[in-house]
Symmetry: C2
Amino acid sequence: MKMASCRLCGGQAAYSIEHAKMMLCQDCFIKYYEKKIYNTIMKHGMLRGARNVAVAVSGGKDSMALLTAMSKLVPEKFPNIKLVAIHINLGIEGYSEKCQEIVKRVCEGLGVEYVIHDLLSREGYRILDLKSTPLGRRICGACGTVKRYLMNRLAYEIGADRLATGHNLDDIVELLFEFYLKGSVEDLVRVRPVSWSDNPKLVTKIKPLIELTERENTYYAMAQGIPLLDAACPLAEGSRMLRRKKLIGLIEREIPGFKHMFYKSHVKRILPRLEKTVPEPSIMECEKCGMPSLSNTCSYCKLVSRLAAQSAENST
Amino acid sequence: MKMASCRLCGGQAAYSIEHAKMMLCQDCFIKYYEKKIYNTIMKHGMLRGARNVAVAVSGGKDSMALLTAMSKLVPEKFPNIKLVAIHINLGIEGYSEKCQEIVKRVCEGLGVEYVIHDLLSREGYRILDLKSTPLGRRICGACGTVKRYLMNRLAYEIGADRLATGHNLDDIVELLFEFYLKGSVEDLVRVRPVSWSDNPKLVTKIKPLIELTERENTYYAMAQGIPLLDAACPLAEGSRMLRRKKLIGLIEREIPGFKHMFYKSHVKRILPRLEKTVPEPSIMECEKCGMPSLSNTCSYCKLVSRLAAQSAENST
Protein backbone atom coordinates (compact mmCIF):
# COMPACT_ATOMS: atom_id res chain seq x y z
CA MET A 1 0.00 0.00 0.00
CA LYS A 2 1.35 3.40 -0.99
CA MET A 3 1.53 5.92 1.86
CA ALA A 4 -0.28 9.20 1.26
CA SER A 5 2.05 12.11 0.83
CA CYS A 6 1.95 15.66 2.15
CA ARG A 7 0.40 18.10 -0.33
CA LEU A 8 2.95 20.78 0.57
CA CYS A 9 6.32 19.05 1.01
CA GLY A 10 5.73 15.58 -0.39
CA GLY A 11 6.75 13.96 2.91
CA GLN A 12 4.69 11.33 4.66
CA ALA A 13 1.21 12.67 5.37
CA ALA A 14 -0.08 12.44 8.92
CA TYR A 15 -3.25 14.55 8.93
CA SER A 16 -6.21 14.74 6.60
CA ILE A 17 -7.94 18.13 6.25
CA GLU A 18 -11.19 16.76 4.92
CA HIS A 19 -13.06 19.90 3.91
CA ALA A 20 -10.01 21.00 1.89
CA LYS A 21 -9.35 17.47 0.56
CA MET A 22 -5.73 17.85 1.64
CA MET A 23 -3.25 15.57 3.41
CA LEU A 24 -0.37 17.12 5.32
CA CYS A 25 2.65 15.94 7.25
CA GLN A 26 3.03 17.01 10.87
CA ASP A 27 5.34 19.97 10.25
CA CYS A 28 3.29 21.32 7.36
CA PHE A 29 0.11 20.87 9.37
CA ILE A 30 1.52 22.97 12.20
CA LYS A 31 2.47 25.71 9.74
CA TYR A 32 -0.92 25.52 8.03
CA TYR A 33 -2.76 25.77 11.36
CA GLU A 34 -0.74 28.70 12.68
CA LYS A 35 -1.00 30.51 9.35
CA LYS A 36 -4.75 30.06 9.41
CA ILE A 37 -4.97 31.65 12.88
CA TYR A 38 -2.74 34.49 11.76
CA ASN A 39 -4.90 35.05 8.68
CA THR A 40 -8.07 35.08 10.76
CA ILE A 41 -6.52 37.60 13.15
CA MET A 42 -5.44 39.84 10.29
CA LYS A 43 -8.64 39.53 8.27
CA HIS A 44 -10.73 40.83 11.13
CA GLY A 45 -8.11 43.16 12.62
CA MET A 46 -8.44 41.24 15.88
CA LEU A 47 -5.24 42.56 17.42
CA ARG A 48 -5.23 46.03 15.90
CA GLY A 49 -4.05 48.39 18.65
CA ALA A 50 -3.98 45.64 21.28
CA ARG A 51 -1.44 45.63 24.15
CA ASN A 52 -2.69 43.03 26.62
CA VAL A 53 -4.42 39.91 25.41
CA ALA A 54 -6.10 37.58 27.88
CA VAL A 55 -6.61 34.05 26.59
CA ALA A 56 -9.50 32.22 28.27
CA VAL A 57 -8.37 28.63 28.81
CA SER A 58 -10.45 25.72 30.06
CA GLY A 59 -7.84 22.99 29.81
CA GLY A 60 -9.60 21.50 26.79
CA LYS A 61 -7.90 20.96 23.44
CA ASP A 62 -9.30 24.07 21.74
CA SER A 63 -8.22 26.69 24.23
CA MET A 64 -4.89 24.96 24.91
CA ALA A 65 -4.20 24.82 21.18
CA LEU A 66 -5.12 28.51 20.92
CA LEU A 67 -2.79 29.44 23.77
CA THR A 68 0.06 27.38 22.31
CA ALA A 69 -0.33 28.91 18.85
CA MET A 70 -0.68 32.43 20.26
CA SER A 71 2.42 31.99 22.41
CA LYS A 72 4.39 31.31 19.23
CA LEU A 73 2.62 33.85 17.02
CA VAL A 74 2.50 36.86 19.32
CA PRO A 75 6.25 37.32 20.08
CA GLU A 76 7.01 36.85 16.39
CA LYS A 77 4.29 38.93 14.74
CA PHE A 78 3.05 41.24 17.50
CA PRO A 79 6.09 41.78 19.76
CA ASN A 80 4.45 44.61 21.74
CA ILE A 81 1.57 42.46 22.92
CA LYS A 82 1.58 40.74 26.30
CA LEU A 83 -0.24 37.44 26.68
CA VAL A 84 -1.88 36.18 29.89
CA ALA A 85 -3.89 32.98 30.27
CA ILE A 86 -6.96 33.07 32.50
CA HIS A 87 -8.64 29.97 33.87
CA ILE A 88 -11.67 29.38 36.07
CA ASN A 89 -11.69 26.30 38.29
CA LEU A 90 -15.39 25.44 38.15
CA GLY A 91 -15.22 22.97 41.06
CA ILE A 92 -16.63 20.05 39.06
CA GLU A 93 -15.46 16.90 40.84
CA GLY A 94 -13.29 14.51 38.89
CA TYR A 95 -12.97 17.07 36.11
CA SER A 96 -11.96 20.55 37.19
CA GLU A 97 -8.78 19.36 38.97
CA LYS A 98 -7.64 17.74 35.72
CA CYS A 99 -8.42 20.89 33.75
CA GLN A 100 -6.47 23.10 36.12
CA GLU A 101 -3.55 20.70 36.10
CA ILE A 102 -3.29 20.85 32.31
CA VAL A 103 -3.56 24.63 32.30
CA LYS A 104 -0.70 24.90 34.78
CA ARG A 105 1.50 22.42 32.94
CA VAL A 106 0.95 23.98 29.51
CA CYS A 107 1.37 27.57 30.71
CA GLU A 108 4.52 26.71 32.59
CA GLY A 109 5.85 24.81 29.60
CA LEU A 110 5.17 27.75 27.31
CA GLY A 111 6.36 30.33 29.84
CA VAL A 112 2.99 32.14 29.69
CA GLU A 113 1.78 33.99 32.76
CA TYR A 114 -1.53 32.66 34.08
CA VAL A 115 -4.31 33.53 36.49
CA ILE A 116 -6.46 30.86 38.11
CA HIS A 117 -9.80 31.89 39.53
CA ASP A 118 -11.20 29.30 41.91
CA LEU A 119 -14.99 29.44 41.87
CA LEU A 120 -15.47 27.91 45.32
CA SER A 121 -12.90 29.95 47.25
CA ARG A 122 -13.43 33.21 45.34
CA GLU A 123 -17.16 33.19 44.59
CA GLY A 124 -18.34 30.79 47.29
CA TYR A 125 -20.02 28.13 45.14
CA ARG A 126 -19.37 25.40 42.57
CA ILE A 127 -21.17 24.80 39.26
CA LEU A 128 -22.90 21.74 40.68
CA ASP A 129 -24.59 23.98 43.30
CA LEU A 130 -26.59 25.48 40.42
CA LYS A 131 -28.12 22.06 39.85
CA SER A 132 -30.63 22.50 42.67
CA THR A 133 -31.82 25.92 41.42
CA PRO A 134 -34.41 26.39 38.67
CA LEU A 135 -31.42 26.86 36.35
CA GLY A 136 -30.20 23.34 37.07
CA ARG A 137 -32.08 21.75 34.22
CA ARG A 138 -30.07 23.79 31.78
CA ILE A 139 -26.79 23.57 33.61
CA CYS A 140 -24.61 24.16 30.51
CA GLY A 141 -26.44 27.43 29.92
CA ALA A 142 -25.93 28.56 33.51
CA CYS A 143 -22.27 27.54 33.40
CA GLY A 144 -21.93 29.59 30.20
CA THR A 145 -23.28 32.66 31.99
CA VAL A 146 -20.77 32.17 34.83
CA LYS A 147 -17.83 31.75 32.46
CA ARG A 148 -18.77 34.67 30.20
CA TYR A 149 -19.20 36.99 33.17
CA LEU A 150 -16.11 35.97 35.12
CA MET A 151 -13.81 35.75 32.11
CA ASN A 152 -14.75 39.30 31.15
CA ARG A 153 -14.32 40.54 34.73
CA LEU A 154 -10.95 38.80 35.10
CA ALA A 155 -9.73 40.17 31.78
CA TYR A 156 -10.88 43.65 32.82
CA GLU A 157 -9.20 43.32 36.22
CA ILE A 158 -5.83 42.43 34.73
CA GLY A 159 -6.12 45.33 32.28
CA ALA A 160 -6.56 43.25 29.13
CA ASP A 161 -7.81 45.01 26.01
CA ARG A 162 -8.74 41.74 24.25
CA LEU A 163 -10.22 38.49 25.49
CA ALA A 164 -9.42 35.59 23.15
CA THR A 165 -11.56 32.45 23.41
CA GLY A 166 -11.10 29.02 21.87
CA HIS A 167 -14.49 28.82 20.11
CA ASN A 168 -14.01 26.74 17.01
CA LEU A 169 -15.99 26.40 13.79
CA ASP A 170 -18.01 23.48 15.17
CA ASP A 171 -19.06 25.52 18.23
CA ILE A 172 -20.09 28.44 16.07
CA VAL A 173 -22.02 26.35 13.54
CA GLU A 174 -23.85 24.61 16.38
CA LEU A 175 -24.89 28.03 17.71
CA LEU A 176 -25.86 29.32 14.28
CA PHE A 177 -27.94 26.22 13.60
CA GLU A 178 -29.78 26.70 16.90
CA PHE A 179 -30.38 30.42 16.39
CA TYR A 180 -31.48 30.19 12.74
CA LEU A 181 -33.83 27.38 13.72
CA LYS A 182 -35.33 29.46 16.51
CA GLY A 183 -35.17 32.64 14.44
CA SER A 184 -33.52 34.52 17.31
CA VAL A 185 -32.18 37.48 15.40
CA GLU A 186 -30.83 39.19 18.53
CA ASP A 187 -28.64 36.14 19.21
CA LEU A 188 -27.64 35.73 15.56
CA VAL A 189 -26.16 39.22 15.32
CA ARG A 190 -23.85 38.38 18.22
CA VAL A 191 -22.30 35.37 16.48
CA ARG A 192 -19.23 37.00 14.97
CA PRO A 193 -15.42 36.70 14.94
CA VAL A 194 -14.92 39.91 16.96
CA SER A 195 -17.27 41.62 19.39
CA TRP A 196 -15.89 45.14 19.53
CA SER A 197 -16.52 47.18 22.64
CA ASP A 198 -15.60 50.72 23.60
CA ASN A 199 -16.85 50.20 27.14
CA PRO A 200 -13.70 49.65 29.25
CA LYS A 201 -15.52 47.20 31.52
CA LEU A 202 -16.56 45.08 28.58
CA VAL A 203 -13.41 43.66 27.02
CA THR A 204 -13.40 43.21 23.23
CA LYS A 205 -13.75 39.50 22.49
CA ILE A 206 -11.94 37.74 19.67
CA LYS A 207 -12.24 34.20 18.34
CA PRO A 208 -9.03 33.36 16.46
CA LEU A 209 -10.08 29.69 15.99
CA ILE A 210 -13.41 30.50 14.42
CA GLU A 211 -12.41 29.08 11.03
CA LEU A 212 -10.72 25.96 12.42
CA THR A 213 -12.62 22.75 13.09
CA GLU A 214 -12.64 20.75 16.28
CA ARG A 215 -10.69 18.08 14.46
CA GLU A 216 -7.98 20.52 13.35
CA ASN A 217 -7.60 21.71 16.94
CA THR A 218 -7.26 18.12 18.13
CA TYR A 219 -4.60 17.49 15.48
CA TYR A 220 -2.70 20.59 16.53
CA ALA A 221 -2.90 19.69 20.21
CA MET A 222 -1.57 16.21 19.36
CA ALA A 223 1.14 17.53 17.08
CA GLN A 224 2.30 19.94 19.77
CA GLY A 225 2.22 17.31 22.49
CA ILE A 226 -0.40 19.22 24.47
CA PRO A 227 -1.74 16.87 27.16
CA LEU A 228 -5.32 15.95 26.25
CA LEU A 229 -7.98 15.83 28.96
CA ASP A 230 -8.96 12.23 29.52
CA ALA A 231 -12.43 13.26 30.74
CA ALA A 232 -15.35 15.18 29.31
CA CYS A 233 -17.38 17.47 31.54
CA PRO A 234 -19.69 15.06 33.41
CA LEU A 235 -22.41 17.72 33.61
CA ALA A 236 -22.58 18.18 29.83
CA GLU A 237 -23.16 14.49 29.12
CA GLY A 238 -26.10 13.96 26.78
CA SER A 239 -26.64 17.73 26.51
CA ARG A 240 -28.52 19.20 23.58
CA MET A 241 -25.32 20.93 22.53
CA LEU A 242 -23.54 17.60 22.11
CA ARG A 243 -26.48 16.07 20.21
CA ARG A 244 -26.58 19.07 17.88
CA LYS A 245 -22.87 18.73 17.20
CA LYS A 246 -23.38 15.09 16.27
CA LEU A 247 -26.16 16.11 13.90
CA ILE A 248 -23.93 18.73 12.31
CA GLY A 249 -21.26 16.07 11.80
CA LEU A 250 -23.89 14.06 9.97
CA ILE A 251 -24.82 17.00 7.72
CA GLU A 252 -21.15 17.66 7.01
CA ARG A 253 -20.79 14.07 5.80
CA GLU A 254 -23.67 14.60 3.36
CA ILE A 255 -22.55 18.09 2.28
CA PRO A 256 -18.76 18.27 2.55
CA GLY A 257 -17.80 21.82 3.43
CA PHE A 258 -21.19 22.51 5.06
CA LYS A 259 -19.71 24.04 8.21
CA HIS A 260 -17.36 26.41 6.39
CA MET A 261 -20.07 27.41 3.92
CA PHE A 262 -22.73 28.04 6.55
CA TYR A 263 -20.37 30.09 8.70
CA LYS A 264 -19.12 32.17 5.77
CA SER A 265 -22.61 32.81 4.43
CA HIS A 266 -23.63 34.00 7.87
CA VAL A 267 -20.66 36.30 8.42
CA LYS A 268 -20.37 37.69 4.91
CA ARG A 269 -23.92 37.81 3.67
CA ILE A 270 -26.64 37.46 6.25
CA LEU A 271 -25.08 39.04 9.36
CA PRO A 272 -24.39 42.41 7.67
CA ARG A 273 -28.09 42.58 6.69
CA LEU A 274 -29.51 41.49 10.02
CA GLU A 275 -27.25 43.90 11.89
CA LYS A 276 -28.86 46.85 10.16
CA THR A 277 -32.23 45.84 11.57
CA VAL A 278 -31.21 45.30 15.18
CA PRO A 279 -30.61 48.43 17.25
CA GLU A 280 -27.36 48.54 19.20
CA PRO A 281 -28.33 47.38 22.72
CA SER A 282 -28.01 50.08 25.36
CA ILE A 283 -25.61 48.90 28.02
CA MET A 284 -26.03 50.03 31.61
CA GLU A 285 -24.21 49.19 34.83
CA CYS A 286 -25.52 46.34 36.95
CA GLU A 287 -26.85 47.85 40.17
CA LYS A 288 -25.32 44.99 42.15
CA CYS A 289 -21.85 44.50 40.73
CA GLY A 290 -21.31 47.57 38.57
CA MET A 291 -20.35 45.51 35.55
CA PRO A 292 -21.96 46.05 32.12
CA SER A 293 -25.52 44.75 31.87
CA LEU A 294 -28.51 44.85 29.52
CA SER A 295 -30.93 45.33 32.44
CA ASN A 296 -30.81 46.76 35.97
CA THR A 297 -29.31 43.54 37.31
CA CYS A 298 -26.91 41.54 35.16
CA SER A 299 -27.62 37.90 34.38
CA TYR A 300 -24.72 36.77 36.54
CA CYS A 301 -26.00 38.60 39.62
CA LYS A 302 -29.50 37.23 38.93
CA LEU A 303 -28.07 33.73 38.83
CA VAL A 304 -26.06 34.19 42.01
CA SER A 305 -29.07 35.62 43.83
CA ARG A 306 -31.10 32.55 42.89
CA LEU A 307 -28.32 30.43 44.32
CA ALA A 308 -28.40 32.46 47.55
CA ALA A 309 -32.20 32.19 47.75
CA GLN A 310 -31.93 28.44 47.31
CA SER A 311 -29.38 27.96 50.05
CA ALA A 312 -31.39 30.19 52.44
CA GLU A 313 -34.40 27.97 51.73
CA ASN A 314 -32.38 24.81 52.31
CA SER A 315 -31.02 26.01 55.65
CA THR A 316 -34.47 26.88 57.12
CA MET B 1 -52.59 -5.46 20.56
CA LYS B 2 -54.73 -2.39 21.16
CA MET B 3 -55.50 -0.34 18.05
CA ALA B 4 -54.51 3.33 18.24
CA SER B 5 -57.50 5.61 18.38
CA CYS B 6 -58.26 8.92 16.67
CA ARG B 7 -57.40 11.90 18.85
CA LEU B 8 -60.51 13.77 17.70
CA CYS B 9 -63.35 11.23 17.52
CA GLY B 10 -61.93 8.20 19.30
CA GLY B 11 -62.50 6.01 16.21
CA GLN B 12 -59.84 3.78 14.72
CA ALA B 13 -56.78 5.85 13.79
CA ALA B 14 -55.43 5.54 10.28
CA TYR B 15 -52.88 8.35 10.01
CA SER B 16 -50.09 9.52 12.26
CA ILE B 17 -49.24 13.25 12.18
CA GLU B 18 -45.77 12.90 13.62
CA HIS B 19 -44.75 16.49 14.24
CA ALA B 20 -48.00 17.03 16.17
CA LYS B 21 -47.79 13.61 17.89
CA MET B 22 -51.38 12.97 16.83
CA MET B 23 -53.19 9.97 15.38
CA LEU B 24 -56.33 10.53 13.33
CA CYS B 25 -58.95 8.43 11.58
CA GLN B 26 -59.54 8.97 7.88
CA ASP B 27 -62.53 11.33 8.21
CA CYS B 28 -60.90 13.45 10.88
CA PHE B 29 -57.66 13.59 8.89
CA ILE B 30 -59.53 14.94 5.87
CA LYS B 31 -61.16 17.63 8.04
CA TYR B 32 -57.84 18.47 9.70
CA TYR B 33 -56.09 18.77 6.33
CA GLU B 34 -58.74 20.96 4.73
CA LYS B 35 -58.98 23.12 7.84
CA LYS B 36 -55.24 23.61 7.76
CA ILE B 37 -55.36 24.82 4.14
CA TYR B 38 -58.24 27.12 4.98
CA ASN B 39 -56.32 28.54 7.95
CA THR B 40 -53.21 29.11 5.83
CA ILE B 41 -55.31 30.89 3.20
CA MET B 42 -56.97 33.11 5.81
CA LYS B 43 -53.80 33.81 7.81
CA HIS B 44 -52.06 35.27 4.79
CA GLY B 45 -55.15 36.70 3.09
CA MET B 46 -54.31 34.57 0.07
CA LEU B 47 -57.73 34.88 -1.58
CA ARG B 48 -58.62 38.40 -0.45
CA GLY B 49 -60.31 40.06 -3.43
CA ALA B 50 -59.66 37.11 -5.74
CA ARG B 51 -62.08 36.14 -8.55
CA ASN B 52 -60.19 33.69 -10.73
CA VAL B 53 -57.77 31.24 -9.22
CA ALA B 54 -55.54 29.13 -11.44
CA VAL B 55 -54.20 26.01 -9.77
CA ALA B 56 -50.92 24.76 -11.29
CA VAL B 57 -51.12 20.97 -11.41
CA SER B 58 -48.37 18.55 -12.36
CA GLY B 59 -50.24 15.30 -11.78
CA GLY B 60 -48.20 14.63 -8.62
CA LYS B 61 -49.76 14.07 -5.21
CA ASP B 62 -49.19 17.59 -3.90
CA SER B 63 -50.86 19.57 -6.65
CA MET B 64 -53.64 17.02 -7.08
CA ALA B 65 -54.32 17.12 -3.33
CA LEU B 66 -54.34 20.92 -3.51
CA LEU B 67 -56.80 20.93 -6.41
CA THR B 68 -59.07 18.42 -4.69
CA ALA B 69 -59.11 20.35 -1.42
CA MET B 70 -59.61 23.69 -3.22
CA SER B 71 -62.48 22.28 -5.26
CA LYS B 72 -64.28 21.47 -1.99
CA LEU B 73 -63.21 24.61 -0.11
CA VAL B 74 -63.79 27.28 -2.72
CA PRO B 75 -67.53 26.72 -3.46
CA GLU B 76 -68.21 26.49 0.26
CA LYS B 77 -66.11 29.34 1.63
CA PHE B 78 -65.42 31.55 -1.38
CA PRO B 79 -68.47 31.09 -3.64
CA ASN B 80 -67.55 33.98 -5.94
CA ILE B 81 -64.23 32.50 -6.94
CA LYS B 82 -63.79 30.47 -10.11
CA LEU B 83 -61.20 27.68 -10.15
CA VAL B 84 -59.26 26.52 -13.23
CA ALA B 85 -56.53 23.89 -13.27
CA ILE B 86 -53.55 24.49 -15.56
CA HIS B 87 -51.14 21.76 -16.59
CA ILE B 88 -48.02 21.70 -18.76
CA ASN B 89 -47.21 18.50 -20.61
CA LEU B 90 -43.42 18.58 -20.46
CA GLY B 91 -42.94 15.86 -23.05
CA ILE B 92 -40.88 13.61 -20.78
CA GLU B 93 -41.22 10.10 -22.17
CA GLY B 94 -42.73 7.48 -19.94
CA TYR B 95 -43.71 10.16 -17.45
CA SER B 96 -45.55 13.14 -18.91
CA GLU B 97 -48.32 11.01 -20.48
CA LYS B 98 -49.06 9.55 -17.06
CA CYS B 99 -49.11 12.97 -15.46
CA GLN B 100 -51.52 14.36 -18.02
CA GLU B 101 -53.76 11.33 -17.70
CA ILE B 102 -54.08 11.84 -13.94
CA VAL B 103 -54.76 15.54 -14.36
CA LYS B 104 -57.58 14.82 -16.82
CA ARG B 105 -59.11 12.09 -14.68
CA VAL B 106 -59.00 14.11 -11.46
CA CYS B 107 -60.28 17.34 -13.05
CA GLU B 108 -63.12 15.52 -14.76
CA GLY B 109 -63.96 13.68 -11.56
CA LEU B 110 -64.06 16.95 -9.62
CA GLY B 111 -65.81 18.87 -12.39
CA VAL B 112 -63.01 21.45 -12.50
CA GLU B 113 -62.24 23.19 -15.78
CA TYR B 114 -58.69 22.57 -16.99
CA VAL B 115 -56.19 23.82 -19.53
CA ILE B 116 -53.42 21.61 -20.87
CA HIS B 117 -50.43 23.26 -22.47
CA ASP B 118 -48.39 20.86 -24.54
CA LEU B 119 -44.75 21.94 -24.58
CA LEU B 120 -43.86 20.18 -27.84
CA SER B 121 -46.83 21.31 -29.93
CA ARG B 122 -47.14 24.79 -28.42
CA GLU B 123 -43.53 25.76 -27.74
CA GLY B 124 -41.76 23.45 -30.15
CA TYR B 125 -39.51 21.55 -27.76
CA ARG B 126 -39.50 19.04 -24.90
CA ILE B 127 -37.66 19.28 -21.58
CA LEU B 128 -35.20 16.61 -22.68
CA ASP B 129 -34.08 18.88 -25.54
CA LEU B 130 -32.56 21.14 -22.89
CA LYS B 131 -30.24 18.28 -21.96
CA SER B 132 -27.87 19.03 -24.84
CA THR B 133 -27.57 22.75 -23.98
CA PRO B 134 -25.19 24.14 -21.36
CA LEU B 135 -28.26 24.12 -19.04
CA GLY B 136 -28.55 20.37 -19.33
CA ARG B 137 -26.38 19.58 -16.37
CA ARG B 138 -28.87 21.33 -14.12
CA ILE B 139 -31.96 20.14 -15.88
CA CYS B 140 -34.26 20.49 -12.85
CA GLY B 141 -33.30 24.16 -12.64
CA ALA B 142 -34.02 24.72 -16.33
CA CYS B 143 -37.33 22.85 -16.04
CA GLY B 144 -38.20 25.10 -13.09
CA THR B 145 -37.62 28.19 -15.23
CA VAL B 146 -39.88 26.78 -17.96
CA LYS B 147 -42.67 25.92 -15.52
CA ARG B 148 -42.51 29.21 -13.63
CA TYR B 149 -42.63 31.22 -16.84
CA LEU B 150 -45.34 29.25 -18.61
CA MET B 151 -47.55 28.81 -15.56
CA ASN B 152 -47.53 32.56 -15.02
CA ARG B 153 -48.22 33.26 -18.71
CA LEU B 154 -51.04 30.71 -18.83
CA ALA B 155 -52.59 32.10 -15.66
CA TYR B 156 -52.33 35.62 -17.10
CA GLU B 157 -53.84 34.52 -20.42
CA ILE B 158 -56.89 33.01 -18.79
CA GLY B 159 -57.36 36.12 -16.66
CA ALA B 160 -56.47 34.57 -13.31
CA ASP B 161 -55.72 36.93 -10.42
CA ARG B 162 -54.06 34.20 -8.35
CA LEU B 163 -51.80 31.30 -9.24
CA ALA B 164 -51.89 28.57 -6.58
CA THR B 165 -49.05 26.06 -6.51
CA GLY B 166 -48.65 22.81 -4.59
CA HIS B 167 -45.36 23.65 -2.88
CA ASN B 168 -45.33 21.86 0.45
CA LEU B 169 -43.37 22.37 3.65
CA ASP B 170 -40.67 19.91 2.55
CA ASP B 171 -40.13 21.80 -0.71
CA ILE B 172 -39.86 25.10 1.10
CA VAL B 173 -37.52 23.84 3.81
CA GLU B 174 -35.28 22.31 1.16
CA LEU B 175 -35.10 25.72 -0.57
CA LEU B 176 -34.52 27.58 2.70
CA PHE B 177 -31.75 25.18 3.68
CA GLU B 178 -30.05 25.74 0.33
CA PHE B 179 -30.39 29.52 0.42
CA TYR B 180 -29.32 29.98 4.05
CA LEU B 181 -26.33 27.75 3.36
CA LYS B 182 -25.35 29.82 0.34
CA GLY B 183 -26.32 33.06 2.03
CA SER B 184 -28.33 34.15 -0.99
CA VAL B 185 -30.39 36.88 0.60
CA GLU B 186 -32.09 37.85 -2.67
CA ASP B 187 -33.44 34.31 -2.99
CA LEU B 188 -34.36 34.04 0.69
CA VAL B 189 -36.65 37.05 0.57
CA ARG B 190 -38.64 35.38 -2.19
CA VAL B 191 -39.42 32.28 -0.11
CA ARG B 192 -42.84 33.26 1.26
CA PRO B 193 -46.45 32.05 1.37
CA VAL B 194 -47.70 34.78 -0.97
CA SER B 195 -45.82 36.73 -3.63
CA TRP B 196 -48.01 39.77 -4.13
CA SER B 197 -47.88 41.53 -7.47
CA ASP B 198 -49.62 44.60 -8.79
CA ASN B 199 -48.24 44.03 -12.25
CA PRO B 200 -51.13 42.49 -14.25
CA LYS B 201 -48.74 40.33 -16.28
CA LEU B 202 -47.23 38.87 -13.13
CA VAL B 203 -49.95 36.89 -11.37
CA THR B 204 -49.90 36.87 -7.55
CA LYS B 205 -48.65 33.47 -6.41
CA ILE B 206 -50.03 31.65 -3.40
CA LYS B 207 -48.87 28.47 -1.67
CA PRO B 208 -51.80 27.07 0.33
CA LEU B 209 -49.90 23.84 1.18
CA ILE B 210 -46.88 25.63 2.61
CA GLU B 211 -47.55 24.38 6.15
CA LEU B 212 -48.39 20.80 5.14
CA THR B 213 -45.75 18.12 4.81
CA GLU B 214 -45.20 15.84 1.86
CA ARG B 215 -46.46 12.99 3.99
CA GLU B 216 -49.70 14.80 4.86
CA ASN B 217 -50.31 15.44 1.17
CA THR B 218 -49.74 11.77 0.38
CA TYR B 219 -52.19 10.81 3.15
CA TYR B 220 -54.80 13.19 1.78
CA ALA B 221 -54.33 11.96 -1.79
CA MET B 222 -54.76 8.39 -0.53
CA ALA B 223 -57.75 9.25 1.64
CA GLN B 224 -59.44 10.98 -1.30
CA GLY B 225 -58.68 8.15 -3.70
CA ILE B 226 -56.58 10.42 -5.93
CA PRO B 227 -54.68 8.20 -8.37
CA LEU B 228 -51.01 8.29 -7.43
CA LEU B 229 -48.36 8.52 -10.14
CA ASP B 230 -46.49 5.23 -10.29
CA ALA B 231 -43.38 6.95 -11.68
CA ALA B 232 -41.05 9.69 -10.52
CA CYS B 233 -39.61 12.15 -13.03
CA PRO B 234 -36.76 10.20 -14.65
CA LEU B 235 -34.77 13.42 -15.17
CA ALA B 236 -34.78 14.32 -11.47
CA GLU B 237 -33.30 10.99 -10.36
CA GLY B 238 -30.33 11.48 -8.05
CA SER B 239 -30.76 15.27 -8.19
CA ARG B 240 -29.32 17.45 -5.48
CA MET B 241 -32.86 18.46 -4.57
CA LEU B 242 -33.76 14.86 -3.75
CA ARG B 243 -30.56 14.32 -1.75
CA ARG B 244 -31.23 17.48 0.25
CA LYS B 245 -34.76 16.32 1.01
CA LYS B 246 -33.39 13.05 2.32
CA LEU B 247 -30.97 14.97 4.53
CA ILE B 248 -33.80 17.13 5.84
CA GLY B 249 -35.75 13.96 6.68
CA LEU B 250 -32.74 12.86 8.70
CA ILE B 251 -32.57 16.17 10.58
CA GLU B 252 -36.31 15.99 11.27
CA ARG B 253 -35.81 12.58 12.89
CA GLU B 254 -33.16 14.06 15.19
CA ILE B 255 -35.11 17.26 15.90
CA PRO B 256 -38.82 16.47 15.67
CA GLY B 257 -40.62 19.56 14.42
CA PHE B 258 -37.49 20.87 12.68
CA LYS B 259 -39.26 21.64 9.39
CA HIS B 260 -42.14 23.55 10.97
CA MET B 261 -39.80 25.45 13.29
CA PHE B 262 -37.33 26.41 10.56
CA TYR B 263 -40.12 27.58 8.24
CA LYS B 264 -41.88 29.59 10.94
CA SER B 265 -38.67 31.23 12.15
CA HIS B 266 -37.93 32.24 8.58
CA VAL B 267 -41.37 33.66 7.83
CA LYS B 268 -42.04 35.31 11.17
CA ARG B 269 -38.63 36.43 12.34
CA ILE B 270 -35.88 36.49 9.76
CA LEU B 271 -37.74 37.28 6.53
CA PRO B 272 -39.26 40.56 7.83
CA ARG B 273 -35.74 41.73 8.75
CA LEU B 274 -34.05 40.67 5.54
CA GLU B 275 -36.81 42.24 3.44
CA LYS B 276 -36.00 45.65 4.82
CA THR B 277 -32.46 45.36 3.49
CA VAL B 278 -33.29 44.18 -0.04
CA PRO B 279 -34.61 46.81 -2.43
CA GLU B 280 -37.76 45.89 -4.35
CA PRO B 281 -36.48 44.63 -7.73
CA SER B 282 -37.43 46.85 -10.64
CA ILE B 283 -39.43 44.84 -13.12
CA MET B 284 -39.26 45.63 -16.82
CA GLU B 285 -40.76 44.01 -19.89
CA CYS B 286 -38.77 41.35 -21.71
CA GLU B 287 -37.81 42.77 -25.10
CA LYS B 288 -38.56 39.44 -26.73
CA CYS B 289 -41.82 38.26 -25.19
CA GLY B 290 -43.11 41.33 -23.39
CA MET B 291 -43.59 39.43 -20.15
CA PRO B 292 -42.19 40.74 -16.82
CA SER B 293 -38.43 40.40 -16.47
CA LEU B 294 -35.59 41.47 -14.20
CA SER B 295 -33.32 42.21 -17.17
CA ASN B 296 -33.74 43.15 -20.85
CA THR B 297 -34.40 39.55 -21.81
CA CYS B 298 -36.27 37.28 -19.40
CA SER B 299 -34.68 34.03 -18.23
CA TYR B 300 -37.18 31.98 -20.22
CA CYS B 301 -36.36 33.72 -23.50
CA LYS B 302 -32.64 33.34 -22.74
CA LEU B 303 -33.16 29.64 -22.21
CA VAL B 304 -35.20 29.23 -25.40
CA SER B 305 -32.62 31.15 -27.41
CA ARG B 306 -29.91 28.78 -26.17
CA LEU B 307 -32.05 25.91 -27.33
CA ALA B 308 -32.43 27.53 -30.76
CA ALA B 309 -28.68 28.19 -30.96
CA GLN B 310 -28.02 24.55 -30.10
CA SER B 311 -30.34 23.15 -32.75
CA ALA B 312 -28.94 25.53 -35.36
CA GLU B 313 -25.49 24.20 -34.47
CA ASN B 314 -26.66 20.60 -34.67
CA SER B 315 -28.22 21.06 -38.09
CA THR B 316 -25.09 22.53 -39.64
